[in-house]
Symmetry: C3
Subunit: 245 residues, 3 copies
């Protein structure tokens, strides 16, 4: 199946998974690293990337790694939902578009709710929208102080402010971010893997049902909101502003 092939090892590249267009996925020392890889687009998440992240998470949940890391290539962590997703209207029109988007988003967030191993975000730079919204579903969030903007629901936070709010676990100076975080991740990867998996299971199981219910409700509300005048105008303004540059 496509799931298994995604975690297969290519001769020569050793532990680097191929078959991804928008991600780099590597696995070594018990750590699977999923890197968002559209740096020229500030790692905006297009439809393909949504699907590939889900595929990579499902593969990581079954591989022999202890922990999984999500990070971004380049200056940005992720600029969030690629708004060009909104411009590709199917034959069914905007209603069908909104419905399909809600189904995709619900499935996407569901993968984070259900992910069984410790999941760690390395927020290497600014983060926007959906890439910030899902941070609460990670087991730890390490941010570089280059993450000067974490934007969600119209509210801008620095990494330090997000840390004070509990959304970020710890903030590191950008100059030592990679080194300090990887030292820590390698130490985590040596902890007893079953104990970590079962600890997460015991904690997450208490709230999993509620998280899925909230996810379903929010996606249903979003489906309506995407069709509202407020949203249509905001997207139109954004895209026309861009095309004028």
């Amino acid at each position: 199946s496509s799931l298994e092939s995604s975690s297969q090892v290519e001769p020569g590249t050793d532990r680097k998974s191929t078959g991804y267009e928008t991600l780099m996925v590597t696995s070594e020392d018990g750590i699977t690293k999923i890197t968002l890889n559209r740096p020229a687009k500030k790692n905006a998440i297009n439809i393909e990337m949504y699907h590939e992240i889900m595929r990579a998470l499902k593969a990581a949940s079954k591989d022999d790694s202890s922990i999984t890391v999500l990070t971004g290539n380049g200056d940005y962590y992720s600029s969030g939902n690629d708004l060009t997703n909104f411009t590709d209207i199917p034959p069914g029109g905007v209603e069908e578009k909104a419905k399909n988007s809600a189904i995709l988003l619900r499935e996407f967030v569901g993968c984070f709710i259900d992910f069984p191993k410790p999941l760690i975000a390395m927020v290497n730079g600014p983060a926007v929208g959906i890439s910030v919204t899902i941070l609460g579903l990670f087991d730890a969030v390490y941010a570089s102080d280059r993450a000067t903007e974490m934007l969600v629901f119209g509210k801008k936070l620095t990494a330090g402010e997000a840390c004070a709010q509990g959304l970020v676990t710890e903030v590191f100076p950008d100059s030592t971010f990679q080194k300090e975080v990887w030292t820590r991740l390698k130490a985590f990867a040596k902890l007893p893997p079953n104990a970590m998996r079962i600890s997460k299971e015991v904690i997450r199981n208490r709230e999993k049902e509620k998280l899925h219910a909230v996810n379903a409700e929010e996606c249903s509300v979003l489906q309506e909101r995407w069709l509202s005048d407020e949203c249509m105008n905001a997207v139109m303004n954004f895209l026309s502003r861009k095309s004028n540059l």
Copy 2:
């Protein structure tokens, strides 16, 4: 009805609601501002003010404003429940008094639980008792550093400490409090009003049933506590201390 009349516009005063004895209520730029207006009594909440706040909240929920602000006139935000409320004993005696007070408090807190628009507290000075207790039901709480005492359950906090505990969103120097907060409020009032209302609805609906159940239980416990020796003695001591000054 009295609800509609309370939000009517008087000729000449434009957007200032009349018909309140203990409040000032104004509405402009998409912001309805409810000001506790018994500065000589440190904005202590007497029976009339409880009823007028509920009336003003119901009017604000239906007017064309995007957000609603509660603040105090003068040096205090509010010194909490006016203890002279306890001295006006009805023919049914203290038991009836306690029962009526519990019904009023439950209805009062219920209005804050159910308020549908973004509700923001501007804590301009010291705050005590019920005025602090209900801050958790606001969507944002901005405090001046003049709010050196926020007293609840026998525990005194400064605005900064209340901020560290998550009860206050942000603390401002008193010298720039009004200017900085109003700049922010005016920006909020320009955000899409339906998106704000629906966001609050999605969040609050998850906990509304539980909040009303807790409110009912706490008011029922309070009704008993108000009749306890511990409470009677405390109120008597306070009032006799005051009359001796």
Copy 3:
């Protein structure tokens, strides 16, 4: 019964309870103080101490004190579960050992969930494992800055970091720790005792059922984990390292 006798007053020692091997229990000024008293073992909790803490809590819940304090004698608050508990294998083997340990731990944590009066931890020094895990069930946690290590789930925190996370209420310099905390405790002990008891009841009742369910589930998972290779190896390594010193 043994419960009553444990809170009896010896002639001459006034309010000091006897009949404890691993604790000191005193009661004065409305405060019952339970002191872990195996300083040579860093107040590690052996089987006897588990049982004595439960006995002391049950006595304190019925005595005439307003509040109860738990602290440690010597340099440590507590080094957690005494790992020699694992070496005393009953005739039924390690399976029976794990089962008995799970029953004991569940009963032990249950006593903290059900304790009806304000319960305060005075964390006088480093704290490890179960002694940290149960801090969330206390009504206030005051820590000396000597508590430089609070270790739980493989993660080391200082008292200050634990305070930032909400696990510790307030941190005091060690030089003034005893004096400052006791000043505060004596003030608490003068607050209306019924109001404190009923406040705790109203808050705790909301979550008691869930806390007991989580406790049961966690002890059941622990019973399995104690029999895992990961755990057996960790305990064996620790004990053999110790015997080699």
